[in-house]
Symmetry: C2
């Protein structure tokens, strides 16, 4: 079954905020045997919303809209849906019970004079919102299901999981599975042109292949389908046989759909290894990416963001001499940061970053994109300079990708029960 | 002039990665008097790409595509564009010069047997890529301009700024300006229903009004247009008059399009105040949000992410007694974290966070969404418990929104030249 997602809001197209709900749907609908066919991001404008609903109606079974349900006058989703489906906007007393429940949960009264949440297109049902105030809308038309939810991510995501998913009628006739193997240290073009030129077509004869390059390697995914669970198992075995006989197998560091952050936490828990960071140019992003993952607290203990040199000296013990002779962006400073932070945090491994994210601060010798990364463990402390390209935000991302990759390598290389 | 943006890639719809280029365009095209009409996110599938181009062609002057230009077989953008415009895919020797230049910049040779970057739809021009390897494509058809760029954000964003923008012919017949005033401490519904029920219609008589609620307040934007610069100035003055005579003016903390992070850095620089953080539940996100802003280094010195209690004790000096008696998530712990981190970091203000982002760790007394926030300055140290709703990622965002809001309040309240 296909889903079309339509995000509505001028603020999504003028750069004020980015849509986070599309990514949430993309991550979550697959588990429920649904396929996100297309994401539309459109302004608060009737004609644009009509065009998107038209296309969604022709190509998908389920349409999920977000945004435009709030109390202000630019929130036009309700009248637009009413007009699209030729329904009147009506005030229904049977809706008041659900709306009063939403307000009571937040210890507030619903004032029918001030608010219009009970005014909805005729024949539409309301969906409960236990995070915010605006209820969602649900309507079924010619076997198509239409859901309209508030755009605020906390509200959208909770309501999609709790209210929408149980209402979607999935067809269970087919089984499908995605098998992703993650490779590192070889660029995408080399894998399919030099390491194993037959790999793509071999895999593609079993399922649909997709390739996703990263700063640290390439994820290769194969989606297989079958009429029975047994069909899937046979196809999965064929894929494993292809991999095992391919030269690419030496470069595979993980098989599964987990993110780099999740793999790091999983391996660290398995080996009972604690870790932390000290960050200059990545500025907290490494720690934030790790703490996005629930369950990280047993192995991730902390991080020291040392943006100013005084913090590098006073908290981490980086020597003034090192900063003067080699500069803050150097493998020498990266070394002392990692070493000092490991003593402070009391963890098994610390990875340090000190680099130039730009746009200013670069020189001919050390251009924007230069980074020193250090790794300290009870075994040893090492550090190296690397170069990346990009603007400030993409460099922060690439720097942190590469530092996490080096952390995973280090965790893999250490003995268990550290 | 309208732009349609079409992001192509299965990985954008199955949750592997999120599209970052749409937000980049949304933030940047406005400055160049272009309007982003719609963002389409579609899979690597010819029929879906055709449908999106059709709609874009009918409604916009410029079409920007991203993704699907790489060396693997699921990269179908080139053959799809060729088919759409009924062009042959041809190998042109005149393209080799530009491609060899791309490779030479990275000290590599271009092998015409292994790579197919010089194979492009007839009549399409190539665009230089100084970050990665795949060149972009450019084609003009019936006064419409089509650009196809690599999807990797560092490549897309650099190429859009350096190669695409100079090629877009903007019409300069009209002037437009967005005026945004940022309010805090009053919910969106109250502003327009109770504080000033005429505000929306008054503003809307001058320009297009949009309202964007945040964790800490509401941004209200008005976009005005005019045939001359003088028209704009007259309209801007009218808007300021409406604001000055409105009760809402007491709640305005900033007029302008800058983000909360940018406002904090600007005010801290003006007042010569340094600051830092110590983070438990926000896990580095506060520091990362501030270091996203170029120029932060003069006032932001660092942050200590103290996820494990041992780090709270050993690095920040939080007392074991406090952790046992009140728990890690308490205003007492938030107080000691902020105080201890200020001594460690040597800054004027430290904001601390210690809360429960979930999904685990909540209790009846302190449910998921509870956070202690402390603020320490040379004047005093205070702390308070707050409650928010949401899932792990949206709570991290809300927690950090609110902590930044409290930081800005503190910076505003301190005397200058601190």
């Amino acid at each position: 079954m296909n889903i079309d997602y339509i995000a509505i809001g001028n603020e999504l197209l003028n750069g004020k905020i980015s849509d986070l709900n599309g990514l949430f749907l993309a991550k979550n609908v697959g588990k429920n045997r649904l396929k996100l066919r297309k994401i539309h991001i459109v302004p608060d404008q009737e004609s644009e919303i009509f065009m998107a609903i038209n296309e969604a109606f022709e190509n998908s079974d389920v349409i999920v809209l977000s945004g435009g349900l709030g109390p202000t006058l630019d929130d036009i989703t309700k009248p637009t849906l009413a007009k699209y489906f030729s329904k009147k906007l009506v005030e229904k007393t049977e809706h008041l019970e659900l709306i009063r429940k939403i307000y009571q949960e937040k210890n507030r009264d619903y004032d029918t004079n001030h608010y219009h949440y009970h005014r909805v297109p005729e024949d539409f049902a309301l969906l409960f919102n236990n995070v915010g105030y605006a209820p969602g809308l649900y309507y079924q038309n010619k076997s198509k299901q239409i859901f309209s939810l508030p755009g605020i991510p906390a509200e959208f995501q909770t309501m999609f999981s709790k209210e929408v998913l149980p209402l979607i009628k999935t067809s269970n006739s087919k089984f499908s599975k995605n098998i992703t193997f993650k490779t590192w240290k070889i660029p995408e073009s080399k894998i399919f042109k030099q390491v194993d030129p037959d790999l793509w077509s071999n895999l593609n004869s079993i399922g649909e292949v997709a390739s996703l390059p990263h700063t640290y390697g390439v994820d290769i995914g194969v989606t297989i389908e079958g009429e029975t669970e047994n069909d899937l198992q046979i196809k999965e075995k064929k894929i494993m046989d292809i991999l095992n006989s391919s030269k690419v197998s030496d470069s595979i560091y993980y098989i599964g759909n987990e993110s780099l952050e999740e793999i790091i936490i999983q391996k660290a828990i398995e080996k009972n290894i604690t870790f932390g960071f000290t960050e200059s140019c990545t500025g907290g992003l490494l720690a934030s990416r790790i703490t996005d993952i629930s369950g990280c607290s047993s192995v991730f203990w902390g991080s020291i963001t040392a943006y100013d040199n005084s913090v590098k000296q006073n908290v981490l013990g980086v020597k003034e001499k090192t900063l003067i002779e080699h500069g803050a962006v150097s493998k020498e400073t990266a070394f002392e940061m990692a070493y000092g932070a490991r003593k402070q945090l009391g963890v098994d491994i610390v990875v340090s970053t000190t680099g130039i994210a730009g746009p200013g601060g670069g020189s001919k010798e050390k251009p924007v994109g230069t980074i020193g990364i250090g790794i300290s463990s009870s075994e040893d402390t090492t550090s190296e300079l690397y170069q990346f390209k990009g603007n400030r935000l993409s460099l922060k991302k690439r720097f942190s990708d590469y530092a996490l990759f080096l952390l995973l390598e280090k965790i893999n290389s250490l003995p268990a029960g550290h």
